[in-house]
Every structure is written in structure tokens, then in C-alpha cells.
Symmetry: C2
Subunit: 534 residues, 2 copies
């Protein structure tokens, strides 16, 4: 009768599905057992054991152990530590917390015990009991231990898996292994939560997710230098009769590059779908070896028909707060770990440079507080009249209206003057892109930047120029090729509407939320000048 097990029927799924189907999901094992008794003729439910064979993560067990207390369960993971030949700290990546496994070593083959080292992979079956020790509420009394795979512990000593403190630089060199550290486990779980929150926010607000092209024939936006994409054999590039490179013969029959932004395409989508957003990789071929720049990074770009600049600022503020609140609610354990790390790091700094707030405290404040909204013109006045400026403390003194703001100015406004996230708006048209809407004054555009403490610009956006004559004039002035952007201009020809949007660099937001300071530590495999390992 219980032949389904032998006949290769997928127990895991069958039991999972069954559990859901019969409303057993939140029942205790005893209740499930009673249920089974009455349904013993059902092909997929044969024994109580099948229910206990559900695949459980460490997180499931730590958070829901009461359901399986005093029952045998199976759990799999990697050894983070093995103390006194008796206590295994097991981690499976589902949470930063480890599950304590108690091994009565006399009951096990010595050969097995010897194989339990840092990073060993184990499958353990045992009884769930309330823990007597401090530091955990629950532990597993191991009855069966299976070593799942190889563990070259000698070679391991040369890697970052060796249990001692490693520099972030060293961890970066072994980016393929750093997922297995507490720190990077926390960072990438938070990055995932941030990404999900972004999708959820937009989905709840009737936005449609669109995929704008990565390979593009347009290079008109001028947001930065672009990487070339080609299928040419570089040793044998075809030439036309004039001796020029014959891009007609390349894969796309034209010169192509990697996108720097999906905005222009997103605008065309917003003209049909109303509210859209992109979330995808973008690229800059800029030789900036800083802690804030990547050659490949992920960007989120909402674009909304019928929105003006204020709507756009509201959207940006609501959006950021939603994501931060989501992480505060859903990543408590990881944030606590990052908060402690952040505090430790601050202690190493001279007192003057220390952050005023803890990481979680900072996030909670930003999630609640209304962002300051300040025009560029006001900001310039504040900066020009500041002590810092007068005493020559800025590397770039602020001398007149029209000057572009530097990072030091943004940080002064956010961290010293307002002590709050700041939204700057209405910038001089000369320092902003061609597609931003010209204001009535004829000299500013309806641009906005959201500035965050410690990060600087986290969002940049604008209301877009919807008036075709003004747009064309701007393109002419700024040497943007009209012919190449014929399709962009088209959107201003047929039922043009006011609209607005912005761009958020995902990694900057993850830096802010995790308290990390180098952008290479918040993306799994960073791409930077001279580096594309893995």
C-alpha cells in the first residue's frame, strides 16, 4: 500500500500538495496522524513519516518548531561550527540563524564524526527538543547523520571559508564563496527582499513591469559611455568600399551597444499602458574605480503618464519608504546582524566621523519622516551662505546660481543642514538632460534628485518634456540626433500627455539599507575596470 515510495513517486511534492489540499498545513503532526488514520486508502498518504519528510528549512524549524516538537525530522545544511565534538551549528542559507544539532558522539561511527568540519554538508535526522542551553530555543538530537558531499578541508584553509576574520577585499576575490558567510548571506537576503518589495510596490499601485532592451541601436541619451556589442570576429572586421567598418554586416546590421537606461523606451510604453516600470541591468563604460561605481548595475525606472513633477516626487518618496519598511518588517534578523556590524565599524572611526544613528534607527527614521523638498535655487542660497562655503571648506566653492552640485554639497545639505533626506527640484536646464520639461521661467527644468544621508543621490528623475516643439528645440541645442530618436518624438505627436519618471540605482539603495560602504559588496559578482571574474 505504501508502494508509492518505492515506485519513485515524488513524496516531497505529493505530501506538500496533500498537506495544502486537505487543510493540514498548520496542523500538528498529531492532528495529521489522526487525519491519516481515516484516509489510509489514499495513495499518497501512507504513513506519518511521509509528513515528516516534508523539506524543512532551518528557518521553518526555528520559527515553527512547536509543530514538530518531540518528533523526528530531517534537516540539511552546512556546518558553521562544531564544538566539543557535540554541538553542530547548522546553516542552510534560509536565515542567518543556525540550528543547533546535538551529537552524542558515542553513538556514531568515528569516521562520520571526523568528517564533520567547518563547511561540511550534512543531512541529519533527529528529534526536535526544546533547548536547555542559552542562545537557542530549540535543538535537534541527532539520530542519523549523512555526509552529503566532498569537503576538502585542507584546501579550505586557503579560502575565505576558513573560520577567521577576512578582509572585504579578500572576500571579493572569492565572490563565489562569500555567499556562505554571515555577512554576505545577510546582504544578499536583504538585496532580494529589496527587489521583491520594489515589484510588490509597483504591482499594488497598478504599474506594469516592462522589459526594455539591453542591446540598443540608440546611443542618444548620452548618460555615459557605452559598451559596444558585436558579433564581428575582431581579427577580421568587414569594411565597406570607403574602408569604414561595415556595421551592416554585424549581427543587427548596425552599430549596437549596451543600454545606459530604459527610460526612453519606458516612456513609449507609458503612453499606452499608463504606469510602467523597468527593473533591469544597465551599463557604463566609465573608467571610475570608486566605491560608488559599477560598470554593470541594476536600475529601476518607473514612468507614469499624467504625472507632474510633484506627483513624481510623491511617488519616489512613497516608493522608498515602502521598500525600507518592507525590509524592516521582513529582514529583522539580518538587519540586526548588519546593525551590530555597523556599530562595530563606527567604533573603529574617529569620533567626529561616526554616524549619529544606528543602522536600524536610521532606516526607521527615513521610513517615517517627511523628506525635505527644496528647490535648487534655495539650495544654492543655503550653500552660498553656509559657514563651510565662506570658510573655504568645500573643495568646490559654491559661487553662483547655475553651478552643478557636487557630492560634498549634497552631503552638507542632507547630513548637516537638514539632517533629513532631501528632494532637490527645478534645476538649471543647462546641467540636465534634454528630455526634462522646461519650466515657465525658461531657465530651469522640472528635474528632481532624492538625496540620502551617506549615499548622496539615490534617485534622479523629472517631468518629461511633452511639448514637441520645445523638445525638438532642446534636442537641437543639446546636439541630440532627431532622426535616431524618431520613435521617441512620435510619442509627442499622437496624444502627447504630461508624464514623469525617475531612475533608482538598486545597489545604492542596498548600500543604504545594509550600511555597507563599497558598492562591490552589494552585488553578487561586481563588474569594474579590469575585473569580470566568474
Amino acid at each position: 500500500m505504501c508502494s508509492s515510495v518505492k515506485q519513485n513517486v515524488p513524496i516531497y511534492s505529493a505530501s506538500q500538495n496533500s498537506i495544502n489540499r486537505w487543510g493540514l498545513k498548520n496542523k500538528t503532526i498529531a492532528e495529521k496522524a489522526a487525519f491519516i488514520k481515516n484516509y489510509s486508502n489514499f495513495p499518497y498518504i501512507c504513513t506519518l513519516q511521509m509528513f515528516t519528510m516534508e523539506k524543512r528549512t532551518v528557518k521553518d524549524i526555528l520559527e515553527g518548531y512547536k509543530k514538530v516538537l518531540h518528533h523526528d525530522i530531517t534537516v540539511q545544511g552546512w556546518v558553521r561550527a562544531f564544538r566539543s565534538n557535540r554541538f553542530i551549528a547548522l546553516n542552510d542559507g534560509s536565515t542567518i540563524n543556525n540550528l543547533q544539532i546535538v551529537v552524542d558522539f558515542e553513538n556514531f561511527d568515528e569516521a562520520i564524526i571526523k568528517q564533520i568540519n567547518t563547511a561540511s554538508s550534512l543531512k541529519i535526522t533527529g528529534e526536535v527538543v526544546e533547548s536547555q542551553g542559552a542562545g537557542q530555543t530549540v535543538e535537534i538530537l541527532a539520530k542519523k547523520i549523512v555526509i552529503l558531499g566532498d569537503n576538502f578541508s585542507e584546501e579550505l584553509q586557503k579560502t575565505i571559508l576558513q573560520p577567521k576574520k577576512h578582509s572585504l577585499e579578500k572576500l571579493r576575490e572569492e565572490a563565489h564563496l562569500r555567499f556562505r558567510t554571515n555577512l554576505f548571506g545577510a546582504i544578499f537576503r536583504v538585496r532580494s527582499a529589496v527587489s521583491f518589495a520594489i515589484h510588490e510596490f509597483f504591482n499594488k499601485n497598478q504599474f506594469f513591469y516592462i522589459h526594455t532592451p539591453i542591446i540598443t541601436g540608440a546611443d542618444a541619451e548620452g548618460a555615459g559611455e557605452m559598451f559596444g556589442v558585436t558579433n564581428f570576429d575582431l581579427n577580421n572586421i568587414p569594411r565597406d568600399e570607403n574602408g569604414d567598418i561595415d556595421f551592416e554586416q554585424d549581427f543587427f546590421a548596425r552599430k549596437t551597444s549596451l543600454t545606459v537606461s530604459g527610460q526612453l523606451e519606458a516612456e513609449t510604453a507609458a503612453m499606452g499602458l499608463g504606469r510602467v516600470y523597468t527593473f533591469g541591468p544597465t551599463f557604463r563604460a566609465e573608467n571610475s574605480n570608486t566605491t560608488r561605481h559599477l560598470a554593470e548595475f541594476w536600475m529601476v525606472e518607473p514612468e507614469v503618464a499624467f504625472n507632474n513633477l510633484e506627483d513624481n516626487i510623491d511617488l519616489a518618496e512613497n516608493f522608498l519608504k515602502y521598500v525600507i519598511k518592507y525590509v524592516l518588517e521582513n529582514c529583522k534578523d539580518d538587519l540586526e546582524f548588519l546593525d551590530k556590524r555597523f556599530a562595530e565599524e563606527q567604533k573603529q572611526k574617529p569620533e567626529k566621523e561616526r554616524a549619529k544613528e544606528g543602522l536600524i534607527e536610521k532606516l526607521e527614521k527615513v521610513a517615517e519622516k517627511r523628506f525635505k523638498r527644496v528647490s535648487y535655487t534655495e539650495a544654492i542660497e543655503i550653500l552660498m551662505n553656509s559657514k563651510e562655503n565662506k570658510k573655504g571648506k568645500f573643495q568646490f566653492p559654491v559661487e553662483h546660481w547655475g553651478t552643478d552640485l557636487q557630492s560634498e554639497h549634497e552631503r552638507f545639505l542632507v547630513e548637516k543642514h537638514f539632517e533629513s533626506p532631501v528632494v532637490l527640484f527645478d534645476y538649471p536646464k543647462e546641467i540636465k538632460a534634454f528630455y526634462m520639461r522646461l519650466n515657465e521661467d525658461g531657465k530651469t527644468v522640472a528635474a528632481m534628485d532624492v538625496l540620502f544621508p551617506g549615499i548622496g543621490e539615490i534617485i534622479g528623475g523629472s517631468q518629461r518634456e511633452e511639448r514637441i516643439d520645445v523638445l525638438k528645440q532642446k534636442m537641437k541645442e543639446m546636439h541630440v540626433d532627431e532622426d535616431e530618436l524618431w520613435w521617441y518624438i512620435d510619442t509627442r505627436k499622437f496624444g502627447s500627455v504630461p508624464h514623469a519618471g525617475f531612475g533608482l540605482g538598486l545597489e545604492r539603495l542596498v548600500l543604504f539599507v545594509t550600511g555597507m560602504t563599497n558598492i562591490r559588496d552589494v552585488i553578487p559578482f561586481p563588474r569594474t575596470p579590469k575585473s569580470a571574474e566568474f
Copy 2:
């Protein structure tokens, strides 16, 4: 007191936030008005009008009109049709349904009425009333009409916005405008829902979303030809002393390409985080001009530590069903439109070629039915013994075990033999990739393909080879460079575990769900040989 309006305070957000904060979201306007009366000293709530200024989409109004019945509201959108100088069908992209606006043309300036044409963009304020006419439950009696932007109606006659039937080819040439048609509005709303459902499924199941690199230095997977990425000036490529291209001088100091899959990197993440998935663009530089191939497409790749082949099949089946159910529940209107279109299209076909089921019927069945699970060996037997094979009806006759299955064979199994989605597993090792786990028999690997009616392979995956010696042997046999993949091999050195994963081509799934037949019609801006417009 109501000065906040003049002081540039964002009314939209203030009122939205207020509405939520005071639990007024689902209250009628009358109830809100009563609330305001008691709180007239609150800075952001000044007048009833502020509540009615909420930005409402057409979807909001059609679905929740009872809350605003007999009140004046404002709505913005594009004209889809204007009948008898009196009835405007207004669409804003939020839904496939139009909102009917009733215009009493005698009350409006003739100049305004003249500007109301197909594709005009309007802002309309008017009273919400129950509709007397057939076809809609609610309509707006226009009191104020504002023309929002330009509409070059003469030029429009040359575009796909001209209200008549256009071929899909023509619509593709104007991909920037096709978002504004009923068909492509529906397709891209469904694509967005599919994408969100994917994220939601994985998030609910404790998976972490990771971003694997787009630009890669590895080209070992051999899944297909890769596009080169370079920052070289192609007119002046640096050479080393041997006259070879000096990639050391390129941006990343090596030869780089666009990724064909994030799997190998995802595996390293799964070894730390347990359950992960990627969702990003992938690329093939293959000169295939078919209805099923794109040079740039989006792929979803889960990778799960501790999963075996059966777990992997379960995951794939549960995943596909979840996404299809999500769309059935959340895209009813769009699916009904697509269902009708699909039925129309079937009518044009000779009876023999017509689909047996309607689109929605097909989706409902797939969402409920258990997928057939069949080994490659069984499938070959079925195919060899089939009438079709014996009568020579296959273009590629099936003659022996070990042969690769062609699309015609897959379709025979799915559409004729089983009349069900089919999961094939345990393929001959020679026809599958190096990283797939060798079975006990020594001649098959733990691979799986999910085959869907009308689509063929929609998912391909496998349990991965976790045994380092077997993996290295396979790499040698299949000429995969060990040195280049040192980091991949590392994951088999330190606590190697059984694990499994698969890849889903997003566009294939969207084809299936929408009933479309050309892959270029389910991605906003398709990239194909000789084409990278926009």
C-alpha cells in the same frame, strides 16, 4: 487655512496618505465629507474636493464606481473612439476596458470638440452616473474637457494608430506605438502579471532573487554563440607583441561576452543561500530567424540546494501551475480578449489544424492536471512504435535510443499521445550538458524537460553533478576548460551537496499564456538578426 494647496504641497500624495492614515480608503465620499467636518483644522484636509482629486485610473473607476457615484471626478486618458460627437471611449492603459464619457457637445467650445479624435489625450472632469446604454455599467457626464497635448491627426493616418486592422508585422515595425492597441495592451499586461507571479511564487517559497552577471568572462557553458562586449575602438584595436588582439587593454582586461545563462553563478549562490533564482536577460548570437528565437530574451533560473531530480520536477510543475493560476485570477479581462482573438484565429485555419481547446480552457486544464512524467527511454519506445514513425510521417524518423528529440517528436508526445504537458527525464548523457548528474546506469543523466502543447520545451533542467571526480571527468570528455571554471569546481570542494535547477524562457511562457504564435509579439522591443530598432 487651505493654503497648503497654494504653497505647492502635493495634494495628490497628501490626500492619498491621509486617506490611508485615517482609514478612509474604502469609505464613500459622503463618509469622507463627514470626517472632514470634524477635522477641519488638519493642514492637509481642507475640502471635499481634495479627496475627489485623488488620481483614479479607468480601472479604479470601473471597478469601484459605487464609491463615487453622483460625484464629480477627474479622469485622464486617450480617446479610442468618438461616436456621434457625443460618446468618447477613453482608455488609460490600466485595463483593456474603456470608460464611456458622455459629451453634451452644445455645452462645449467647438474648437475643443474638433480636437477630440482617435488618440487625443484628454483630461475630463464630470459626474459619475450609472449608464443607460448597453455595454457599460457606468459613464461620466463631462463638465470640463482639457486637451492635454499635441495630436497630429494627419500623420496619425500613416501609423498603426489609425483605427483599422493592421498586420502583426506592421505593428512590430511600430513597436513604440503598439502598446496603445488592445492586443498589445493585453499582452504586456499579461507579461507583467506573469513576471510578478514568478517573483511571488519564489518569494513565498523562501527563494532569494539574485542578479547574476550579464557581462561575463566565462564562455564555458557552450549553450550557444555569444555576443562580444568590448570598449575597443574597432578602428584601432590594440595588439600585443605577437600581433594578437591585446584584450588586457580592453575595459575588463580580458575578452568578455554577454551571458547565455546565469546557472553556474546561481549554483554558487545556492551553495550559500540554499534556494535562489535568477530573472534576467540572456543572449544568443545565433542567426535563427524563426518565430521561436530571439537574440535577447528573459530567463528565470531557480537553483536549489538539497534538491534531487524529482524535487526539481515537482518545483517546475508547481511553479508553472502557480503562474498560470495567477494569470487566470488576475488578468480576466485581458485573457477574455485574447481568448476571443485566439478563437477567431482558429476559425481561419483548416479544420485539421485548429486547436482543440480555447485559450482559457487550455490554461485551466494545465493549471489543474498532473503533468505526465515519462523517462526518455519510455518516450523513445512510444515514438518508435508510433504509427507516425512507422508510416514515415516524421521528418526525422526515430530509429534508436540515444537520438535527440526533435520538436515534431515532442509535439507528438504532448499533443497526440498524452494530450497533456509532459515531463521527460533521464536523457542520454551524450546529448546533454556537462554539469548534469550522471545516473547509476552510467549512460543517462538526471535531466528533465517540460514540454507544453503548442510550445514544445518550456523548461529544461537537471540535477547537477555534485561529485567532483565525476564532474571533472565529464568536463574533460566534453572539452570544458577546468581552469576557466575554477570557481565552479570550488563549489564541489567545500561541502558539496546534491542540488538541482532549471531554466524557463519567459517569452515561451508568455506565448503559451497569451495564445500568440510569434515570439516577437510578446517582448516589447524584439532583438533579432538585422533588427535592433528603438
